[in-house]
Symmetry: C2
Subunit: 406 residues, 2 copies
């Protein structure tokens, strides 16, 4: 029996042995340098490099206990992540790291090292510009999402897939932290500044219509296996260089409504927007950067719609869906979901317990309160008016509309 025939949580030294003896990668074990690079709150991520050849890989291991809280979490998420990344490799290979090995026993995924890419959230906080991002991420989403719809793929295979990707525990996290607590504080996880608490009460908890609309979105999240989603496609799951884009971490993947992925991508860009608006001091630079973000937001929506429509014509096999009215309805309903899900993402990241860095990094209480107001009103508008927010222009127009309300 080898050392890796039973699951244990690996440290840097164990990873070194794992890479050399189990994976048989690189040359001499003495030349392998391992460093932990992960900072998520769920898993452990290492980079292993052969210092002679300069070749490197990344190894992501799932532990049986949640990294942040120590509570147990099913390692099945690791199998799901491995399978989804393999699937992404088939339909969107340019936009994901290559998978070299998946170890069911150790719950360890060995993949391409994409260290030259930067976390999109961090890059945007440094006010970098990624000109291909809207193009890339919409191609990624359209390719991955349309090909797992049952109007496109064999419905038999799709149902087997739905079964394979039932993701009980990670969906539960989303259902609670995205779709329940922000509107009810039912589990008591919200974290709200004292200075914002009255605003949150009035604008969220006491807004019965908002809670109702968010409830409908929760129901849709739970009861609409439309397509195989990434399930956590915020700016921290996306890595970029100036010209390239990679998506990682699909461990929340499950069959759900397409709008959830699209809404996460576009929703998260508003954090960059308000962050830039607050922290950038040079007015010319600020105007240029905000304009870049507006363009990116608009392009994501419009390119998605256009590419999805084109792929629809090419790929749909269900005779009942080959109908122009049906196509229009399907796209409209995805866009409606996307606006709503962008809204729920914005609200939960603002008042829930998984705040984004764009918010947490702001020290001034006054600025934080302004941010809270902007994001809450924006999220509300996206949720309540989702029926009419469809084009890139609609999204950009929201920004000024909300600013005037504060």
């Amino acid at each position: 029996m080898d050392r890796f025939s039973e699951h244990f949580r690996m440290d840097e030294e164990a990873i070194r042995v794992y890479v050399a003896e189990k994976l048989k990668l690189f040359g001499n074990i003495e030349d392998i340098k391992v460093s932990e690079i992960g900072d998520g709150n769920i898993n452990y991520v290492f980079r292993a490099e052969d210092i002679k050849s300069k070749k490197s890989v990344v190894i992501k291991q799932a532990d049986k206990l949640l990294r942040s809280s120590g509570r147990p979490l099913d390692v099945d998420r690791n199998r799901i992540e491995a399978e989804v990344l393999k699937f992404y490799g088939e339909v969107a290979s340019d936009y994901v790291p290559k998978i070299y090995h998946y170890d069911e026993v150790m719950c360890a995924l060995t993949m391409e090292d994409i260290s030259e890419y930067e976390n999109l959230r961090h890059g945007l906080m440094k006010k970098k510009i990624y000109t291909n991002f809207a193009e890339d991420i919409t191609t990624f989403m359209v390719n991955t999402l349309i090909s797992t719809m049952d109007i496109v793929m064999n419905p038999w295979k799709k149902k087997e897939d739905v079964k394979k990707y039932i993701n009980v525990e990670l969906c539960d996290i989303t259902e609670k932290l995205v779709f329940t607590d922000p509107y009810t504080n039912h589990f008591g996880t919200n974290i709200v500044l004292d200075e914002s608490s009255e605003f949150v009460k009035k604008e969220i908890y006491d807004d019965e219509e908002l809670v109702f609309e968010a409830g409908k979105l929760k129901y849709k999240f739970m009861n609409n296996p439309q397509s195989l989603l990434h399930g956590d496609l915020h700016s921290g799951s996306i890595f970029v260089t100036e010209s390239k884009t990679k998506v990682i971490d699909p461990e929340f993947a499950f069959y759900g409504p397409i709008g959830y992925d699209l809404g996460n991508v576009v929703g998260n860009l508003f954090f960059s927007y308000i962050h830039s608006d607050i922290v950038m001091s040079d007015e010319v630079e600020k105007r240029a950067y905000l304009s870049y973000l507006e363009t990116t937001i608009a392009e994501i929506m419009d390119k998605f719609t256009e590419k999805f429509g084109r792929a629809y014509d090419e790929k749909v096999i269900d005779p009942m869906a080959k109908n122009p009215l049906y196509k229009r309805w399907m796209i409209a309903s995805i866009l409606e979901d996307a606006a709503g899900m962008a809204g729920t993402e914005i609200i939960r990241r603002t008042i829930g317990d998984s705040k984004v860095k764009e918010i947490e990094s702001i020290g001034s209480i006054e600025a934080r309160v302004y941010m809270d107001k902007f994001l809450i009103l924006l999220g509300k508008s996206l949720i309540k008016d989702r029926y009419k927010i469809k084009t890139g222009k609609d999204y950009v127009a929201l920004i000024d509309k909300i600013k005037k309300l504060i």
Copy 2:
């Protein structure tokens, strides 16, 4: 190794041995009388009686080949049926036969003999009256359907359940024969009288809006695991005495939209209606029977709505669903689905290949053509106007409205 350690299709003699030796039921094997009683096109059903004690059971066996066509069909449907009947026994025990034994190897289900009950479709064709039927079937539906919604049950368990009840092959049958072919004749399975074919072309195949709306209902059937459905709740799956009701044959069970079960129940009663209207000659008796059917149709809708609403208040645990707006929306959307699904059931049973006896038994071409017209226009109206067909009164009002159109 016993004789029943490997699956084979049992005949009456094998069932006799099975009952005595495998199930160890009854006394002497010589006293066991077996007769095949099934007439479905999927499985084999036997009644075994101990002629001394007069005790009896029913045994339903699934074969690996479809009874009607000989093509292979996954016997997993038998496991699903056994599990669903057990579940029904927990939440609606008065309305299902008791399950005595489930044999995974032989795919055989041994259950209570309900020979004193009559197939509802046959009973209604004999113009019998079942005064408790609306009461019973609505209690059955509300109890079974609400308790498997994820706003009521633990969402973790619900997701495991969704997985357990993925029913690939039988859903495929419904998707093709209920939701595709009637509108497109894509698979060429429709069977239409020459005298009706022009009407069918004009009113169905060429009605783009109808095909679109039916497509939306198909999509809902495939992409909305709202609740554990019976999945085939037509009048032939319901057995009745003057005062009691039993539901059988849930092998099409899967997680789908509640309206599909409700729509099947109510939709099938319109076949009885038009059949009675055509075959009954005594005007007084006819008027009384049609009035009984109208009352039953109306009561099913209204009692379902009322009981579902009451159960909702008692059972819902999701904090986001404890909201009067949400409750109203949920019930309205179920009723909308029910009307649409009643419409698709009526149309597929009229022009598809699984016609109901109420239609097939009519010899006169003239009467058949009238029936076709009535049922097609009724089905269309239920599908297209489903947003506004909600109460029992709405359903009953449709009858006169449609008659005036012919």
